[in-house]
């Protein structure tokens, strides 16, 4: 067998696709991406647990690592270099507002505004919520089985949060993503559902339960999980919690080649911030798109291959038949 080839110039790409996966904060385990096994995945169907966040724009990655020379001799001359600091940052703009993009683009907890109980006192994070209902057995990631009276409390088009009651636990809470870190016991029984990323849109309500338009990120409701209606989302400037995610950014170039930037650990380093982008650049006072701005600090992992500490892996899968 033989192959012909061509000389491939620098890759030409249109946009960057972003994928994120939750870091297991309790076990301190990031999600790894293996370009040898997963490099040719469909960008519309990423391998679990990666979640597609679609196209992003103004993707910029910047290394702040510093190397310094070791000087010896008279006059002093560089003998060799050593890496003094290891640091990198990533910034981008999300082109959609979803639970996940908002969570990533805020520096602290990202909370669900639960539907309020009748007559509840106002609160900045959302008032005391309507009581949660308990899923029945047989529920799946896209179908929540409920008692007839419970199902009647929901409407198609509603957003629901599915997670366990808060019962005084401390540490990381939220399924499947740690949505907050509780340092001391709280009193709100709905707190975990306020910070959970396990949310979805209800597409249909029947006498037996809810059909969801997309699978719950956490899969089928866990034992003890309950369901509540979400009216919206809220985040705050301040707080002590930092989101941490594994990030994967993909450029698919014109000849099928792919460039991957895999950051095993990314933490948001700025508070919630938006960028205003006029729809018509010639009319700055016209309608503008409000984009979520994300800026992240890359944290190191130890590569088991050789024990080196690294913050990012850049992989390149060349085009078919391209000279290398």
């Amino acid at each position: 067998m033989t192959a012909t080839w061509f000389s491939a110039p620098a890759p030409v790409a249109r946009r960057v696709r972003a994928f994120f996966a939750p870091v297991n904060r309790v076990a301190q385990t990031p999600v790894l991406f293996d370009p040898s096994e997963q490099g040719r995945f469909s960008l519309d169907a990423p391998p679990a647990p990666w979640i597609s966040l679609g196209w992003v724009q103004d993707f910029v990655r910047k290394t702040s690592s510093k190397s310094v020379p070791l000087m010896t001799g008279i006059p002093a001359a560089p003998l060799e270099q050593v890496r003094e600091t290891l640091e990198a940052q990533v910034s981008l703009q999300f082109l959609s507002w979803t639970k996940l993009t908002m969570g990533l683009a805020t520096g602290s907890q990202h909370m669900n505004i639960l539907a309020p109980a009748i007559g509840a006192a106002p609160a900045a994070d959302g008032a005391q919520a309507l009581p949660a209902v308990t899923p029945q057995s047989g529920s799946t990631s896209t179908s929540i089985m409920l008692a007839l009276t419970d199902a009647a409390k929901f409407t198609p088009g509603a957003i629901v949060a599915v997670d366990v009651d808060y019962t005084g636990q401390t540490g990381y809470v939220g399924t499947p993503v740690a949505g907050a870190y509780v340092r001391q016991a709280l009193t709100d029984v709905d707190y975990v559902r306020r910070v959970t990323f396990n949310v979805a849109l209800v597409s249909q309500v029947t006498a037996t339960g809810l059909t969801l338009s997309e699978p719950l990120p956490g899969g089928a409701p866990a034992t003890g999980a309950k369901v509540q209606t979400v009216a919206g989302f809220v985040d705050r400037e301040g707080g002590s919690f930092y989101q941490e995610w594994s990030g994967l950014f993909v450029l698919e170039a014109s000849q099928g080649e792919r460039i991957f930037f895999h950051y095993p650990r990314l933490q948001a380093i700025t508070g919630a911030e938006e960028t205003i982008s006029p729809l018509n650049p010639k009319n700055q006072s016209g309608h503008s798109r409000v984009l979520l701005k994300g800026q992240f600090l890359a944290l190191p992992v130890t590569d088991p291959l050789d024990g080196e500490r690294v913050v990012c892996y850049r992989s390149f899968l060349p085009a078919a038949n391209a000279l290398v």
Binding site: T4, F6, A8, P9, A10, R14, S254, Q255, A320
Partner: protein, 161 residues
């Protein structure tokens, strides 16, 4: 460059047959998908209505690369009078339908490059790719509504081209 032009046209034609198989034209006694290459047909004094006509305009070349890159500007012109059954009052809707078909035809923004001079067409090594189309304002001329969209089509020259 001809291979890139052919590949772009065939890609659009193939996609059009899936998007709207009813959009056809009778040319030299043969019913074909409703997209033509102007330079590959007998000269016409007036563009046919309700079909897409692809014409090639500018050419740019970047030779400072490992493989020479070409960029050719294609213009896709289309016009309609609407339908007889509505007395032409639906010509705006008909033009919108063609706008939507063109937007669908243009995606994805790449196609494999093939040599259509060979029989069967021979697959080449690179892909042809292009930018988003730039739509012109619609032009009304009596009962005729027309529009054009320009697309920059890029390709790499391969050995033997």
């Amino acid at each position: 460059m001809q291979n890139a032009k052919d590949s772009f046209y065939i890609a659009l034609r193939t996609r059009l047959t899936e998007i709207n198989p009813q959009r056809t034209i009778l040319v030299r006694g043969t019913v074909r998908p409703g997209i033509l290459v102007e330079e590959a047909e007998a000269p016409f004094s007036q563009f046919p209505s309700d079909v897409f006509v692809l014409r090639w305009l500018c050419l740019a070349v970047d030779m400072n690369l490992d493989s020479t890159m070409t960029g050719e500007q294609g213009e896709i012109v289309y016009q309609t009078c609407g339908t007889q059954s509505f007395g032409g009052l639906d010509r705006g809707r008909a033009l919108s339908a063609m706008d939507e078909e063109l937007m669908a035809m243009i995606q994805p923004f790449y196609t494999p490059k093939l040599n259509y001079a060979a029989t069967p067409p021979a697959a080449m090594l690179t892909q042809v790719f292009w930018d988003e189309p730039v739509f012109s304002p619609s032009v009304a001329q009596r009962d005729l509504l027309s529009r054009s969209a320009t697309v920059l089509v890029y390709s790499y020259q391969e050995q033997g081209e």
